[in-house]
């Protein structure tokens, strides 16, 4: 098997090697493929489906699919972007996202994706689901209204001796993120900050911290999500 070959993304020929994912190649070449559940350094979960691209006509997730010769990939097309936008909108109506009062506003990847896809208002009716806020932990607050079940916390945040703090509870529409409050009681401030940072939305908030960045200096205030990738070139 030849180790180096070419693949095509949106008509552009790009160098590729076996073992690389479509996402890696795109990122290396200044092509933005939107992602949400993916987080650099963590094993992909492939649950948000936002990074879906068409590989020779079939939808596949860019964060998990490794490349092979002959792949022709559609990414930044009106069709794919519309389908991604639908996914983003379903998240807004299924949870309760009140951006103006959220500590993560401006730094939130979901909000940033909504802006990027030019969502004014979701096309679906809101479900106004009843969700809890768990503030029992001294270090962090879990706001289930905002959780999008990407499991980035579960994959990335462990206790100092490597124990899991987060996992899922239930299944289907009833699925929730759950936290081992017994273990989480004793996490350090740094760990709490790490947990807040790994969460793409405002579902994990470090206590006694909220609203620190002034408007205008937040992550996505001046440039849309994905701009960093394009600076590669």
């Amino acid at each position: 098997m030849k180790d180096k070959f070419k693949i095509i993304i949106d008509g552009k020929e790009l160098p590729a090697r076996h073992g690389q994912t479509i996402l890696e190649i795109a990122n290396n070449n200044g092509i933005y493929i939107p992602t949400l559940c993916n987080f650099e350094g963590l094993k992909p979960q492939a649950s948000c489906r936002i990074c879906s691209v068409k590989v020779n006509g079939r939808p596949m997730t860019a964060c998990t699919t490794t490349v092979s010769p002959g792949m022709e990939i559609e990414n930044d097309t009106p069709e794919m972007n519309e389908l991604r936008k639908i996914i983003v909108e379903t998240m807004f109506v299924t949870g309760n996202h009140f951006c103006p009062s959220c500590e993560k506003s401006g730094n939130c990847e979901l909000q940033a994706l909504a802006y990027r896809f030019k969502m004014d208002v979701p096309r679906f009716p809101y479900s106004f689901s009843k969700r809890d806020i768990d503030a029992s932990n001294p270090k962090i607050m879990i706001d289930h209204n905002r959780c999008i079940k990407c499991k980035r916390c579960a994959r990335g945040i462990k206790t100092d001796d490597g124990k899991d703090l987060f996992a899922f509870k239930n299944r289907g529409e009833k699925i929730e993120i759950s936290i081992d409050n017994e273990l989480a009681k004793n996490i350090s401030d740094e760990k709490a900050q790490e947990a807040m940072d790994i969460c793409p939305v405002g579902a994990i908030i470090k206590k006694e911290r909220g609203f620190i960045d002034p408007i205008g200096t937040r992550k996505y205030d001046n440039k849309p999500i994905g701009s960093k990738v394009k600076e590669v070139q």
Binding site: P59, T90, V93, F168, G172
Partner: protein, 600 residues
């Protein structure tokens, strides 16, 4: 209690990959998983508590609350409703004095809904303490509840109504009937256990796979993947531990053919596993048995023991040095999605049954990361038949791309529901005729994940290039309300069974359901119908087959029965009337005694 838990843990040698068995045993013992049992598991297995809770909360038959000394799970599938489930359910509620999904105050009886339990040919049916009660009527329910309340043995009622075939044998003792209607190959009694093994030990491994290749056998689990290819991929992996799984999760609503094989031809299936073991050089097999079929477990274990005694399993099988193969049974915990092969493997490891992304395929990286073949019950039976009778015999039956026979599970509005073994290629009309079905409105081919077809398609053939199927066939009569009674039920089934990981499978399908409800309520507009067709593209972006097909009940009926939808929408309106002003002010009007004046 601690001692009981400790005993259970040591029964599985404190092996954390056997968490599922431990949890099932604890559930069986206490009717729930007590908090301190979880703490003990955390301590002894060194597993995170959140992980154990993640597993428990995923499975329908594992609970954190007591489900009652008598736990009743009444099936709520389409076939059940067609056979009078509503009245039966109401009688249960009335006689016990509680609503569904609750337990009596004294903790005696718990009453719950459950997805299809594989008894569509004898509904309404319920599981009571893991025993199956079939063909329920109002009178039977009254008697069951009375017996329970009087502290009598509920099994006595069952014992008076034992089913046919092996169902009445000592180790099963169930009310289930086989309802075998047509026999061709797999269900024929012309089979001597061990006959295929005897033959193959004279052959090279490759020869066995070649015979399967030449037969052009395709998997019977639904997808129709060539069996020989799957085996070859696994056989090609580097030397080492390999596993064989038989998929007996049979969860697609309306399917029950594997139940009949498990009851009447288990030796055939186990021999198929051993055959595969020989072909791909594996020494360990697992039968993944859905929890609903727990009533067969003792019997199946006895069959395994008998096969071990006859040296059809175990060490140096039939005297062939180095041919070692044995099988254990893994019970599921109640989750349709665990029929998906990667979810099945996760579940066997004691994790939540979440399908993972592929590749890597299980053939390369499967159970405990080892190469693993997963085949359906019926596929493994066909393997033995092919080796016994030769690929020519097999290939002569069926059609060019669909060789051999197929077991159909036929239920719904017909005279003779049951299992029919057909040659691939018959038409739906021929099938309906066999089953004694008249005035048919629709046939749900391959269960809810398949295709709901209309009479204009009844001349189509059952074969992969036309109407491919895993075997579920639900016949829907003209008198049924297709959208309300069938499509809504199936959509709710998928909502309840999604693992919840992928966003569209978790969120969009609920939006589908709400939109369908809106249409049923007469408040839909043309845009709703167009949208539901369009969103299918998003559903196809889900990770596994469940999410990719969960909009099929709606989408295929929209395509095949457009008039049912069009007749219900508000014509010439672009307005989406989700807001009902009279309803919104109803409470106010009631309180003030005023009448609203709303101009149309």
């Amino acid at each position: 209690m601690r001692e009981v838990i400790n005993n259970i843990i040591s029964l599985y040698k404190s092996d954390k990959t056997r968490l599922m068995d431990m949890l099932l045993d604890i559930q069986e013992k206490f009717n729930y998983i007590p908090d301190n049992a979880i703490d003990t598991l955390v301590e002894k297995l060194d597993l995170p508590k959140v992980h154990i809770l993640e597993t428990i909360s995923f499975y329908h038959f594992l609970t954190l609350k007591n489900t009652g000394k008598y736990t009743i799970y009444l099936n709520d599938s389409v076939s059940a409703y067609m056979s009078g489930r509503k009245e039966v359910a109401e009688t249960f509620e009335k006689e016990i004095g509680i609503k569904f999904n609750s337990v009596t105050n004294d903790g005696l009886i718990g009453l719950f809904d459950t997805s299809c339990i594989g008894m569509s040919d004898q509904e309404p049916a319920a599981l009571i303490n893991n025993k199956v009660f079939t063909n329920l009527t109002i009178a039977k329910v009254k008697e069951i509840v009375k017996n329970i309340k009087d502290g009598k043995d509920i099994n006595s009622l069952m014992k008076a109504n034992l089913g046919n075939g092996k169902n009445s044998s000592k180790l099963i003792q169930s009310m289930v009937n086989n309802n075998i209607r047509v026999i061709k190959s797999i269900l024929s009694d012309e089979y001597i256990p061990g006959s295929a093994l005897m033959k193959i030990i004279e052959q090279e491994r490759d020869e066995v796979i070649n015979e399967i290749e030449n037969s052009e056998l395709r998997g019977h689990g639904g997808a129709g993947f060539p069996t020989d290819l799957k085996w070859k991929f696994t056989a090609k992996t580097p030397e080492g531990k390999r596993y064989i799984f038989c998929n007996a999760d049979e969860g697609e609503p309306g399917t029950f053919k594997d139940r009949v094989i498990l009851t009447e031809r288990p030796e055939l299936m186990f021999e198929g596993m051993a055959t595969c073991g020989y072909a791909i050089n594996s020494d360990e097999g697992v039968l993944y048995l859905r929890h609903e079929y727990k009533y067969l477990k003792k019997y199946l274990e006895n069959v395994l023991n008998k096969m071990r005694k006859r040296n059809l399993l175990g060490k140096d099988i039939l005297g062939q040095k180095g041919f070692n193969f044995d099988i254990r049974i893994q019970l599921g915990g109640g989750a349709y999605v665990c029929g998906e092969e990667t979810a099945l493997l996760e579940s066997t490891k004691g994790n939540r049954g979440e399908p993972r992304y592929k590749p890597p395929f299980p053939a390369v990286k499967g159970y405990l990361d080892k190469p693993t073949v997963i085949n359906n019950v019926e596929t493994l039976c066909s393997v033995v038949k092919i080796l016994n009778k030769g690929n020519y015999w097999f290939k002569k039956m069926g059609t060019e791309e669909s060789r051999g026979t197929k077991l159909l599970s036929i239920s719904g509005d017909c005279e003779k529901p049951g299992v029919y073994e057909i040659k691939w290629g018959i038409t739906i009309n021929e099938m309906l005729h066999m089953a004694g079905a008249e005035d048919v409105q629709a046939v749900q081919v391959s269960g809810p994940s398949g295709n709901c077809i209309s009479p204009s398609q009844f001349n189509n053939q059952i074969r992969y290039s036309d109407l491919g199927t895993g075997g579920s066939m639900v016949i829907i009569g003209k008198h049924r309300d297709l959208l309300k009674d069938v499509v809504m039920n199936y959509t709710n089934f998928f909502i309840g069974e999604s693992c919840g990981s992928c966003v569209p499978c978790r969120n969009l399908i609920v939006i589908y359901r709400n939109t369908l409800q809106k249409v049923i309520d007469g408040k839909g507009v043309q845009a709703d119908l167009d949208n539901m067709l369009e969103w299918e593209k998003v559903m196809k972006m889900n990770r596994c087959g469940l999410g990719q097909t969960s909009s099929n009940p709606i989408v295929t009926t929209l395509k095949n029965f457009p008039e049912l939808y069009e007749n219900k929408i508000i014509e010439d309106s672009d307005l989406i009337p989700t807001f009902d002003i009279s309803k919104a002010i109803q409470e106010y009007c009631d309180a003030t005694g005023r009448k609203p004046i709303i101009e149309e």
